[in-house]
Symmetry: C4
Subunit: 207 residues, 4 copies
């Protein structure tokens, strides 16, 4: 149950963060040029898509990690809210990015730094969880243990790329956002190394 | 667990999308003609109802599909966020439809296309999941395998009807919305072909 | 799994409906008489509390019903979104009641009717589920079957009280709201008849 | 199942309360001094962080308590919505605190009292659940019973500290908020006494 409830909290936060993004899509009231107004808001859709894909990928990666966990202790439990903090906060920089990505340079730069900074922290807290499991192999199934150093490295590198995005934001905010989008695309295409993803469905066991 | 957590994410997004629809129901402040104002907003209630029923039906259909799944792999896992993207975005075209269905022709047409387009993409990504399971029968319980070609076809056809709704929107936006509502009603009445829905409840097993 | 996923959707909608109520509590910006303004908004807190308790009680009652279910079929599955529709919509009449309960008579009457009408529909769709299980005893554990007629009657009567609240609203909206509050209090105090609530926790089984 | 569904509702409310906090982070539109405006809103971030950590800690503590529960009865079930009421309401005083913590003395005092009062009620309803389990040891696993008096005391003391925060608010609202933050930090650092947190993961059992 312990890990079951942890999954429930994690999946709840992921599901809500994914779904709350919709609240910031443009809903102009009483516009007489609706198509024009909606098309003009294209950064909103790009920001929505990048954030959605990033959260979705993170969920898949996190799912891969947790499917190899067979026990949890309190220290591991404490790392989870830290990670969830940065997952749940994503709609905020996303909304700001949608509003300001096309704005003045100093505003666009600020939101690019804020966006990549949020993703950096999310990646670091994710890597922090991987690292803890790598150091405490008794919490992990035996078959998955050899894969944990690679998994922790992948999570850490995925997070550190956002340091580049932060640096680039000072030259070109658009280029910084392009890096954020590129990370999402890269992780969507590449495959994680953790085994155990073809699992027996608990649900269909009786059929 | 693998599929259990997948269910948790899916059900979470469905539950939140269903519930977030309520945020766009009209809440006029300090009106002195409240009944008149609320009645005037009838497109909001129709849009709410059609979207709610559509999401509810999709959940039942998806539940039927997943109850036959006994294992998941990473590729199947990746199809899920694509499907959830279009489930979670539904409150957005719903709110626009509520605002503009009665408005000028070009605005009503735009939101009719947007609404049916969202539903089209939702149907296509749903059919994409069915198709994957049909091509990878080892992920499906043996008793359910014969039903998968019909299930995939049904999901695909259900999605493609929205192409008609998009085309009709250029002639009559209201007729387009009527098609969207008709799809929801049709799927609510007809029965899916996938077996396995009378399952032993895990919860009451001990009683 | 079938019933497990149904529980997940139901519990998700309950949890979100409970939590979305908070969005309509008064958050005046830049007030210089905050205490006065907050106290003036007392109908918001009463409406919040009544809706929260009503949803909470419904969850407990629904939990009692479902804990006796050992299998589900598609027709039962279809009754669920109908019930969830009225659970998830509760934040809407709650917000209107908070705004208009103290307003002019015709506005207060309208929101009292809307509020009690929502609760009536919620009660009727809940009773509809009970009734279906009563008529299909194979879906229910043997030990719980004798209790189902009483459970269905209780749910139906609980719903029908709101008919009284609707009628009373035409004389006195405040008295109508008082009946809504009274139903919540009554159900909180009285005990349901369905056995099976002391169950073995799945989670602690290993301890 | 009984306790499984209870967990689902609880975890859902926790996950949503954690995630709804993001809706009140500042999203200034069309600002030409975005960085300045965002920095000026620092109380929003502090309030966000304190509320997030408090809810996260409460989830961990509650998880510890529930992991020792092996059965639930209706009276225990009824204590849960009372606790969840105060968890789900937290975004409201958080938003007010973010807005008014830097404002005039009487406003800052009001929100400091409201914030600490919410936390007090949350702590008391949490302790109420502990106490019930302490008095009904058959609901608790044998190995965990000796730890329940200490757990109930810890929860009660954790709640009563907010009485101090309420009193201090009349002298210095900022000092009152500092106490709220201190409680979160203290509970994050200290360890709860309830055993059973290193549990076998149900999910990874098949690997």
């Amino acid at each position: 149950m312990g890990s079951g409830r942890l999954h429930a909290l994690i999946d709840g936060v992921f599901a809500i963060a994914l779904t709350l993004l919709v609240l910031d899509l443009p809903k102009p009231l009483f516009s007489t040029h609706l198509v024009h107004v909606l098309l003009h808001e294209w950064p909103s859709y790009v920001a929505y898509l990048v954030s959605f894909v990033t959260i979705g990928i993170l969920w898949i990666e996190h799912h891969g990690m947790m499917s190899a966990v067979r026990g949890i202790d309190r220290r591991f439990l404490e790392r989870t809210p830290a990670f969830l903090l940065f997952i749940s906060i994503i709609p905020w920089p996303t909304a700001l990015a949608a509003n300001y990505a096309k704005g003045g340079f100093s505003e666009a730069r600020a939101v690019a730094v804020l966006y990549a900074g949020t993703m950096l922290m999310m990646g670091l807290t994710f890597a922090w969880g991987w690292r803890y499991l790598e150091k405490h192999p008794t919490l992990v199934t035996e078959s998955a243990r050899p894969a944990f150093p690679a998994g922790a490295r992948r999570a850490l590198l995925g997070g550190l790329v956002y340091l580049v995005a932060i640096a680039v934001a000072f030259l070109s905010p658009i280029a910084s956002f392009a890096i954020d989008a590129g990370v999402a695309v890269y992780f969507a295409i590449s495959r994680s190394e953790v085994p155990g993803l073809v699992v027996q469905s608990a649900g269909a066991g009786g059929a």
